[in-house]
Symmetry: C2
C-alpha cells in the first residue's frame, strides 16, 4: 500500500499496527464467509431431506446437542460461550426459516 | 456409531443421510468457533490499541469497507448477502461493545 499520510490528525490510516490487525481480521472474515457458504449448502440438503421424509424443520434434540457441543468447543477455543450461544441461535434460526421455505415449495 | 434403531416411527436417528449431513455441519461449526476465537483475539488487540491511541471504538469508514468486501465475497462464495450482512453486523456490534468495555477499564 502506498498511502499518503492523511492530513487529519487522528486518521486511522496512519496507524500501521491497526492496518495489520485489520488485514488479519479480513482474512478471517473471508474464511468465515466461505465456511458459512458451505454450511448453507449442507443445511439446504438437510431441508430437502426433511421435506422428502416429512420431518419437522426444527429439532429440539439436535439443537440441544449443538449447544452442548458448542459450549465445550468455545471453552476449549477460549471464546465467550454466551456470544457463541447467540451466534449459533442466530444461524440456526436462519436455517429453520429456510427449511420452512423449502417445505412450502 | 452403534446406535440401535429407535422405536419411535419417525426418529431422526434412523436417518443415515441426515446423520452424515449433521456430522459435516458439526465439523464446520467447530471451525467457525475456532475462527471466531482467533478473530476476538485480534479485535481485543485492536481495542487495546484504540484505547492507547485515543481512537473511537467504532469506525464508520472501516465498517463500510468491511460490508463492501463481505458483499463481494458472499457473491463469490454463493452465500446470501443479506444474511451475511446481518451476520457481520452482529459480530461488529459485539466487537464495539468490547472496545467500549476496554476503554472503561
Amino acid at each position: 500500500m502506498n498511502k499518503k499520510p492523511s492530513t487529519r490528525p487522528d486518521a486511522e490510516s496512519d496507524h500501521v499496527a491497526l492496518a495489520e490487525y485489520r488485514a488479519s481480521i479480513d482474512n478471517i472474515d473471508a474464511s468465515l464467509i466461505y465456511l458459512m457458504a458451505e454450511r448453507f449448502k449442507i443445511t439446504e440438503k438437510v431441508g430437502e431431506y426433511k421435506k422428502e421424509k416429512g420431518l419437522p424443520a426444527a429439532s429440539i434434540d439436535r439443537e440441544q446437542e449443538q449447544f452442548d457441543r458448542m459450549k465445550k468447543l468455545a471453552a476449549e477455543a477460549g471464546v465467550d460461550q454466551e456470544f457463541m450461544g447467540k451466534f449459533l441461535r442466530f444461524v440456526i434460526d436462519e436455517v429453520i426459516r429456510r427449511h420452512e421455505r423449502i417445505k412450502e415449495r
